[in-house]
């Protein structure tokens, strides 16, 4: 199972525009962000005092902010290092033993949910290029909800069925507990993501618009300079 994750984190580097140093920085720091959000003490929400960890928020936000390929790499890197033994899963858990536990499906699901929401984000941002606003936020929220229901909850239920040997209806009921928190976290993730794209306009959108000449402005001169200085 880790083998597949290994390919996951390693392969995207080969396709189309090779990532530049800024992309590597974003991937590494967002992987660290997911890890940090899992470790940080939870926020007491409202008057209920129910603690919510920010991990799924960080996972969805990685997709919303970075798009599919880089989000896949960032969350994949986080899962890979957690499985390798760094205590970065929620509650300080770590290692391959997590794959045997009931939360295995959720952790694997993070990778696919981040990728899916990243892909949908690119589609939504392209389609609503002319008119940002409420419409865009609602579509992004829908994208986040669909991705997390299909992948995080879907694979989470599957994980509980395989590892805890629950049947589907029981696993589904056990999973329902996470829905209210997820709705809040996805709504928050979308507002934060929109603010991020406003603060850093070239984070994702310019990459989409100039997809014909990938990373041209920053990557090409650097490569050229390197080639000049080598001989």
């Amino acid at each position: 199972m880790t083998k597949t994750d290994g390919t996951a984190a390693a392969t995207p580097a080969r396709r189309r525009n090779p990532w530049n140093a800024t992309d590597l920085g974003l991937i590494a720091v967002f992987a660290a962000l997911v890890a940090g959000s899992a470790l940080i003490a939870a926020i007491p929400v409202g008057g209920l005092g129910v603690p919510i960890t920010l991990q799924t928020l960080a996972v969805m936000l990685t997709g919303l902010a970075l798009g599919p390929a880089r989000a896949f790499a960032a969350v994949g890197l986080y899962v890979l290092l957690g499985l390798a033994g760094l205590p970065i899963f929620s509650g300080g858990r770590s290692g391959l033993g997590v794959l045997a536990g009931p939360s295995a499906g959720y952790i694997i699901g993070f990778v696919y949910a981040a990728t899916a929401v990243g892909w949908l984000t690119v589609v939504v941002l392209r389609r609503t290029a002319g008119r940002p606003g409420k419409f865009r936020a609602v579509l992004l929220f829908a994208a986040a909800m669909v991705s997390s229901i299909i992948f995080i909850h879907g694979l989470g239920i599957l994980g509980m069925m395989v590892n805890a040997k629950l049947d589907f209806s029981k696993a589904f009921l056990a999973d329902l507990v996470f829905y209210p928190g997820d709705v809040i976290k996805n709504a928050l993730a979308v507002t934060v993501a929109l603010a991020l794209h406003k603060a850093f306009p070239d984070l994702l959108i310019r990459r989409i618009r100039t997809s014909g000449t990938p990373g041209g402005a920053s990557a090409a001169p650097a490569v050229g300079a390197q080639a000049d200085s080598r001989p």
Partner: protein, 223 residues
């Protein structure tokens, strides 16, 4: 935030047989336990496997307290599952399910308790080696891992800073005020890191240098 010492919490220094065993062998042990958890149908066999794994763990010299600390996080969930399945499927089946999960967890903690973090990470980075011919670059992969490890303390620090300033403004109940500044800081930090790497000529995709001699331009499409 001081360093990232918490990342080394699982490793117990020592020189036992397990410490000296190669990484792939220990990995194989974990994998075998994972497979076994689907094949074992008798709870007595599962219990025997668990005793064997615990004996192996104690052989490394890590001690009972470490062993307990390794399984403690899952105990509440396993207790709930065990009771529920006892009620649904009966005692022996419930015992088998719970014991099989424990076997996997103890086996995995043997690996992490007897292998230094640096060797584990080197093992992960070497996973990229077989994909070199497809254009994967093990050095950039290792570089990304190193940046991620360095960034975790920064992000933990950003969370506590932002929480302090939100409290000072009386906004500690406002989720947006608590997290948005963290993410803005994070993206800015990531881009500074990227610029710092580019300025040093690190992390850029080196065209041609790593490509195998037979297919010099494989995978690179320069404009």
């Amino acid at each position: 935030m001081s360093g990232h010492g918490f990342l080394f919490a699982n490793y117990v220094p020592g020189n036992s047989l397990l410490h000296r065993a190669p990484l792939w062998l220990k990995f194989l042990l974990v994998l075998a336990c994972g497979m076994a958890s689907f094949l074992i149908v008798d709870w007595v066999v599962a219990a025997a496997a668990l005793v064997l794994m615990c004996a192996l763990f104690l052989l490394s010299g890590a001690g009972f307290r470490r062993l307990f600390r390794a399984v403690r996080p899952v105990l509440p969930v396993l207790a709930a599952i065990g009771l529920f399945q006892w009620w649904q499927l009966g005692g022996p089946t419930a015992a088998r399910i719970v014991l099989n999960v424990l076997v996997c967890i103890v086996a995995a903690s043997i690996l992490t308790a007897t292998t230094p973090v640096q060797r584990l990470l080197d093992g992960v980075a070497s996973l990229a080696q077989p994909f070199r011919r497809f254009g994967a670059d093990p050095e950039r992969f290792a570089l990304t891992i190193a940046i991620m490890l360095r960034s975790i303390p920064f992000i933990a620090g950003a969370y506590s800073d932002v929480r302090d300033s939100a409290r000072a403004r009386g906004l500690e109940r406002n989720p947006r005020a608590l997290i948005l500044p963290v993410f803005i800081t994070t993206v800015a930090f990531a881009r500074q890191t990227g610029e710092a790497l580019a300025a040093r000529g690190l992390g850029e995709h080196e065209t041609g240098e790593h490509a195998p001699p037979a297919t010099p331009a494989a995978g690179h499409s320069l404009p």
